[in-house]
């Protein structure tokens, strides 16, 4: 490109930027849509791939509980065991060859800086597919959401977004995944907002809703659009019946606590078993398989069981549900999922949690139906409310739970008892002082947001890879970099990378009408000398003072002593870090 063209382009681009520059919010919304479509696409692919794998592992018997139940007993034991072994081997090989600390999407949003490690996420997804396809009692939605979040994280890193916006984009990916997995876009946006971002501010909620909508629209284009568990005929409850739902709420809160305690206990037991990971997962699979000998209902994430509970028919044998059967399934499911999860299998516990809730609700209904023969609400209603209440308790996110169940069933009548029981379940669980399903253990020391503020320096939060330019670069090169980049500063460095000056886009903007000027000037002519800069060792509060003093949005960071350019820091990143660190440390003081 010759100088004249470059010059014209830069002028046109600057004009466009001034006239039509998308605000950060508009940009975030646009990215959210991209992430939403990607997330849905990946989700559909993951589901298809798992189905294919399932057919291979079961020798073509097909997917679903009915197919699994028809397998000969030895296969019912063998398949989850072999699947666990394969998944475990995948994890072991992954850990050996990919030296990368795996991070769950929840953790990356709440604690991290919005970066998900790519390789470890991929091999863990493969392991999850093996576990799920072999019938291990674990949810398939978790890994699906992880993949969607991963795509968003990669996009954020490719676009070189600052940490705060990377986190938002990652959250959008998670919301897109949840929307696609459960056909529940409203709950998806709220789920991520409530659990991971921890606020309902429009700055984050807006992009999350865009991502959810884009995702669900994509899913509707390519596959079935019906709600997961549609409910028929549900009478608005009489006020006396609401008392029954209060009991359901309490029961669900207790059951959620029991379920989570079991998950923890199995994790502890498996930690004590000193065999390789593949052995542990095989052991977990074997346990699931053994339970499946008597109760095939425990395999998979529990979708089929849920459907049958909500439609009041037993899943494998025709007839009504008996309380003994429901109780057995409840206990077997809790043990099986705990075994699978505790062994280290990669997968979610979301749908298994719903099964626990549906069983608890059904048990309550069976009891109340005996006590009050003229109860108008059927088992499906109680099962639905139970799902919501256990979910609200276990996740400690009642809004999300209420909306999620509403979207899954599309029954408005269910809302009133659902809201009541969910909130009661939430408070009941909270009384135990336990951590929720999505709590993350003690935060890692590596995570900058959890270090004491006093120990943080500019080097911890700066962006490395600053845009540099040599002092002898012609105007064409400077203009070209500005055109390609979308940034407002270029840092002029000498051959030893010492910071010499700053070229400001706004300086050029005023003088773009003179083409001759461009011909006669180089970076060294237009750079500001001795720019204000931060030291890598500068403490954050001190950095803030400089930002306020200089009225700059971005400052260069030089290495202490050498004057070498190490990176850049934006005011926005600094403020977000200070706010976040303040939020984390506040309760402890």
């Amino acid at each position: 490109m010759n100088e004249g063209n470059l010059f014209f382009l830069l002028r046109a681009w600057l004009w466009l930027r001034r006239k039509a520059r998308p605000t950060d919010v508009q940009w975030n919304l646009a990215m959210a849509v991209v992430v939403g479509v990607m997330g849905a696409g990946l989700g559909l692919l993951f589901k298809q791939a798992t189905l294919v794998l399932q057919k291979m592992l079961t020798g073509g018997a097909g997917a679903g509980l009915a197919a699994f139940a028809q397998l000969p007993p030895w296969q019912r034991v063998a398949i989850p065991t072999v699947g666990g072994l394969l998944a475990g081997l995948t994890l072991m090989l992954g850990e050996k060859f990919v030296r990368q600390r795996p991070t769950e999407y929840m953790e990356a949003i709440t604690l991290g800086d919005g970066r998900l490690p790519v390789k470890s996420s991929l091999y863990r997804s493969l392991a999850a597919m093996l576990s799920i396809a072999s019938g291990t009692a674990i949810g398939k939605e978790g890994p699906l959401v992880q993949l969607s979040a991963l795509a968003a994280s990669v996009l954020g890193q490719v676009r070189k977004l600052p940490p705060a916006r990377r986190r938002l984009l990652l959250a959008c990916g998670a919301a897109a995944g949840v929307a696609a997995a459960y056909n529940a876009p409203i709950a998806a946006a709220l789920f991520v907002s409530e659990i991971t971002v921890g606020s309902l501010a429009m700055e984050s909620l807006g992009p999350l809703i865009f991502a959810s909508v884009a995702s669900i629209v994509t899913v509707h284009i390519f596959s079935d659009a019906s709600p997961l568990y549609r409910l028929e005929h549900f009478a608005l409850p009489h006020w006396t019946e609401l008392v029954c739902f209060c009991v359901v709420g309490i029961a669900c809160g207790l059951m959620a606590a029991l379920f989570l305690a079991m998950l923890e206990q199995f994790k502890k037991w498996f930690r004590k078993v000193t065999i390789p990971l593949a052995g542990k997962l095989a052991l977990g699979g074997l346990l699931v398989g053994l339970i499946a000998l008597a109760h095939p209902e425990v395999t998979g994430n529990g979708y089929d069981v849920l459907k049958s509970l909500l439609h009041g028919e037993t899943v494998l044998r025709p007839g009504e549900w008996l309380w003994q059967a429901v109780l057995l399934i409840l206990l077997a499911r809790m043990v099986a999922t705990s075994a699978a999860f505790g062994s280290g299998a990669v997968g979610g516990v979301f749908t298994p949690t719903l099964v626990v809730g549906a069983c608890t609700g059904s048990l309550c209904w069976l009891a109340f139906a005996q006590l009050f023969p003229d109860l108008r609400i059927d088992q499906a209603g109680f099962a639905t409310v139970g799902m919501g209440a256990v979910l609200a308790a276990a996740t400690q996110a009642p809004f999300m739970s209420i909306l999620m169940i509403f979207e899954m069933t599309l029954s408005y009548e269910v809302m009133i008892p659902l809201m009541l029981a969910s909130v009661i379940g939430y408070y009941t669980f909270r009384g135990f002082g336990m951590h929720s399903l999505y709590h993350h253990g003690p935060p890692d020391a590596y995570d900058i947001f959890n270090r004491p503020l006093e120990t943080l320096t500019v080097a911890d939060i700066m962006q490395t890879e600053p845009r540099t330019i040599g002092p002898q670069a012609g105007f064409g090169e400077v203009a070209g970099q500005f055109l390609a980049g979308g940034f407002d500063r270029q840092y002029m460095v000498g051959p030893d990378r010492r910071l010499l000056g700053v070229v400001r886009l706004e300086d050029l903007a005023e003088h773009l009408h003179s083409r001759a000027l461009a011909a006669a000037f180089i970076a060294g002519d237009i750079a500001h000398d001795n720019p204000p800069s931060l030291d890598t060792r500068t403490p954050l509060p001190e950095a803030l003072v400089l930002f306020i003093h200089e009225h700059e949005d971005e400052l260069p960071v030089v290495r202490a002593g050498t004057g070498e350019l190490a990176g850049t820091l934006t005011r926005n990143d600094l403020l977000l870090t200070l706010a976040e660190a303040g939020k984390r440390t506040a309760p402890h003081h």
Binding site: Q472, D507, E510, H511, A516, L517, A520, H528, D529
Partner: protein, 151 residues
């Protein structure tokens, strides 16, 4: 701002022209280091030519050798080889600027170059006899010549 005018420059090459123009500025107020001024403009010219076409060159530098902007204008009837392909400059404007003032430097250079791009102005600059008129054409007249070389 200090301005010097030389309407009859004779120089063997760009470096010679720059040396002559910068040296003419040395005694002026605002120039703290005449030798340094010459060296800085020469060093800048060595990086990338300041020949801008149409027989015009704008050797310049931001330098600590001056505390105010200084300008030396010159005309060479024979022309001085300035451009990368040996293009000859007939109108040479040397600008020395204090280091800190990037924006004013660019604004000033831009106005100067804008005048020099007009064919009418250039034509008159090449023929005019009066230094005052020469400066007026470049819109430098309000900055009265602090000293003027032979014309």
């Amino acid at each position: 701002m200090a301005v010097s005018v030389n309407l009859d420059l004779v120089a063997v090459d760009a470096a010679d022209a720059i040396r002559q123009l910068a040296t003419s500025l040395a005694p002026m107020p605002g120039v703290v280091d005449g030798v340094r001024l010459v060296a800085d403009v020469l060093a800048r010219e060595a990086v990338l030519t300041t020949y801008v076409g149409d027989g015009v060159a704008l050797p310049h530098a931001r330098t600590d050798a001056v505390t105010v902007r200084v300008v030396a204008v010159a005309r060479s009837n024979a022309g001085v080889a300035f451009g990368p392909k040996g293009e000859r400059a007939h109108l040479i404007v040397l600008v020395g600027c204090p280091r800190q003032d990037v924006s004013a430097y660019l604004t000033f250079s831009k106005l100067l170059l804008r005048r020099l791009r007009l064919p009418k102005v250039r034509a008159e600059l090449l023929t005019v006899k009066e230094p005052a008129r020469f400066l007026q054409l470049l819109e430098l007249n309000d900055e009265a010549p602090a000293g003027s070389a032979a014309s």
